[in-house]
């Protein structure tokens, strides 16, 4: 019966790979490993009934996970929330990156709406290493505020006295800038497309390593991985 069990293992792995991308993004390949791993044990303990149970479980959950994923996407689409809020993933090849720094293999930005604007977190993979930028609060009232971390402390590398500001000329656009001693260090925009699916970020200025200019195109991650689904 060994060929039957190993055949079941292979079939299980193949079906497990058909689970939705969203499921596999969270669970990795755990399902496709675990099923074949326990198939011999199930066979030993419960015989054919056990193998039937193993596949029944898979067969029930496959459409369920697709349905759950679809519901999540529908929720995102019909959400009348803020156009910026959510997680955005960069289209690496469609973006213009700072030539002074290595191009990331992956880059994401997340906007969380707050009472005064947003909390923005950027993270990604550079040179194979996970990297994350310091979370940043964005107040959209146009007032100049010291550039400080979330705990109100100065940020290493940011010139003393630096201030940042942000305004919202229209619901789809944020205009940001940073200056120190009256001199502009950087300015840019975040602009969400009319259909709400694309976010374009531009930033230009002079950093610690000299002038920089970036234009990054992001697409909305649907469903949002940070929002519990169903």
């Amino acid at each position: 019966m060994r060929p039957l069990v190993s055949g079941c293992g292979r079939l299980y792995r193949r079906v497990a790979r058909a689970f939705p991308e969203e499921f596999r993004a969270v669970c990795g390949d755990g399902l496709e490993q675990l099923g074949p791993d326990i198939a011999p044990l199930v066979w030993q303990q419960r015989g054919v009934v056990g193998l039937v149970g193993l596949f029944f479980d898979l067969a029930v959950h496959l459409p369920y996970e697709y349905l759950s994923s679809l519901i999540g996407k529908l929720k995102e689409v019909t959400m009348s929330g803020d156009v910026f809020e959510g997680t955005w993933k960069a289209r690496i090849d469609d973006s213009q990156w700072d030539t002074g720094n290595p191009t990331p293999q992956q880059a994401c930005v997340r906007f969380e709406a707050t009472d005064t604007g947003y909390l923005m977190v950027a993270y990604g993979i550079v040179d194979g290493q996970a990297v994350a930028e310091r979370p940043q609060t964005i107040s959209t009232d146009g007032r100049r505020r010291p550039v400080l971390d979330l705990g109100g402390r100065p940020i290493p590398g940011v010139p003393a006295g630096a201030v940042s500001f942000c305004s919202r000329p229209d619901p789809q656009t944020l205009q940001l800038g940073t200056e120190a001693d009256g001199k502009m260090l950087g300015a840019g925009t975040f602009q969400v497309s009319a259909d709400g699916k694309t976010l374009t970020a531009t930033n230009e200025g002079t950093g610690l390593r000299g002038p920089f200019k970036v234009a990054i195109v992001f697409e909305r991650v649907v469903p949002d991985p940070y929002v519990p689904q169903g």
Binding site: A16, F23, V26, C27, G28, D29, G30, L31, Q33, L34, G35, D37, I38, G53, L54, D57, L58, V60, H61, L62, Y64, E65, E112, P225, Y226, V227, P228, Q229, G230
Partner: protein, 118 residues
């Protein structure tokens, strides 16, 4: 997005309760959780793989558990495996569910004692 309060998860789904219980003392991978639940329940509760991973996914999304980057010693580690741990919210929810179940048992015991009185 507003976070759910721990009370909002009660009553906890049976599978969720078993999984959270497994993670109280030690971080576990999927196979470990499955075996632990089976042993703890005396073979009565078997979490089949798709049920288990479906529940793990929802627990992660609800913020009750998280994948941990900590790995066991290399001699005990299997690089393919992902390990999961309870989050503070998950621990709080488990505590509240345990209290809820204890209360139910207390009520049941009280009723039985009342019925047993002549």
């Amino acid at each position: 997005m507003a976070k759910k309060s721990p009370d909002a998860f009660l009553p906890l789904k049976s599978n969720w309760f078993h999984i959270l219980l497994c993670l109280v003392e030690v971080e576990q991978h999927g196979y470990g959780i499955m075996q632990n639940v089976l042993e703890r329940s005396g073979g009565k509760v078997r979490l089949w793989p798709a049920t288990l991973y479906g529940s793990l996914k929802r627990l992660i999304q609800a913020g009750l558990i998280a994948e941990t980057g900590d790995r066991p010693a290399p001699e005990f580690d299997d690089a393919r495996r992902r390990y999961y741990k309870l989050t503070p919210l998950g621990r709080r929810v488990l505590d509240l569910e345990s209290e809820r179940l204890k209360d139910l048992v207390r009520i049941l015991d009280l009723r039985r004692r009342q019925e047993a009185r002549p």
